[in-house]
Symmetry: C2
Subunit: 173 residues, 2 copies
Amino acid sequence: MRHVVSALVQNVPGVLSHISGMLASRGYNIDSLAVGETETPHLSRMTFVVVGDDKVLEQVRKQLEKIVTVVRVDDVSAQNFVERDLMLIKVAAARGQRSEVRELTEIFRARVVDVSADMVMIEISGQEKKIEAFIEMMRPFGIIELVRTGRIAMVRGGNHQSRDEDEGPFEHP
Amino acid sequence: MRHVVSALVQNVPGVLSHISGMLASRGYNIDSLAVGETETPHLSRMTFVVVGDDKVLEQVRKQLEKIVTVVRVDDVSAQNFVERDLMLIKVAAARGQRSEVRELTEIFRARVVDVSADMVMIEISGQEKKIEAFIEMMRPFGIIELVRTGRIAMVRGGNHQSRDEDEGPFEHP
C-alpha cells in the first residue's frame, strides 16, 4: 500500500539529510520525494510516498515527529485528496511525426514548451496514471529524456468529490 | 548565483540520504529539491538548486561524482534550458469571490481542481516567477495552504530560443 505523507519542516540546513537518513537507516522504501517552499518563508513542505502497511506508516510518523525540525506530519492519503506530479519529456519527432505528437499532447492537456528540427519537449502535469499513460503513448516515437518532480498532494476542501479537471481528458480521448 | 543541477542516480535505498548528507555536511545551500522516476526503472533523477558561484558548483559536482550511486551530474543552468515548478494552492473564496479567482486562474493558465463552499484549490505549473506572481495575486483572498514540488529543468533541443508557452499569458494578462 502506498501512503502519501506530507511533512511541514523548518527550512534549516541539514533537515533533509536528517529525515532521509532516518528513513534510509530504518529501511523504509520511499517512492518519490518533493521538497518545496510554502506560504511561510521559514517552512518547507516535503511530500513523499511510503510503501508499506498502516503499521509502517505509524512508525514513519512517530520517527518524523521525534525530529525537532519537523513541525507537522500528515497522512494525506488517509483523507480525500488531490495528487499531482509534473514531467518534462523530450521526444524524438522529426517533421513527419510532429503533428501526431502535438495531437496527443492536446488530448492529454499537456503543453509543447520547446521544438527543434528533430525533437519536441512537452510539459505535462496530472495524476500519476495520466503521466504514465502519456509516457506509454510517447514511447514509440522515442523518448530522449524525461524528468519528473515526484508527487505533491493536498486534502480536498469538503467531503464531496468535486469535479477534478484532470479526470476527463485522458480517460475519454 | 543559482545553479540548477540535475543528477542521475541509481534507485537504491540510501542514495538520497547519502547525497543530502554530503551537501549538508559541507554547508551547501540547497534551495529546492525534486526526486522523480526516469525513463529507466532503476534510475532516478534529482534536480536541485544550489546557491553559490562557479567555484561552489564545481565543488558540488566533484563531491557528487565521488558517490558511486551517482551516474551523471549536469549543470543544466549552464545551457539553454526550460525550468518548471508545480504548485497546488488552496484559496479562501466564498461565492462572491469565486469568479474573480477563476478569472485569474484562466489568465495564468492554471486549473481549478477542487471547489467547496468556501475555498478553491488550483493547480499551476510554470517558471518560478510565474508561480510567485500567482501567489501574490491570490494573497488578498487568503491562502489556506500551498504545496510546491521544487524545480525540474531540461536542456533545450537546439541553440535557438523557441516559443515557450509559459512566457506569454502572465506577462500580458
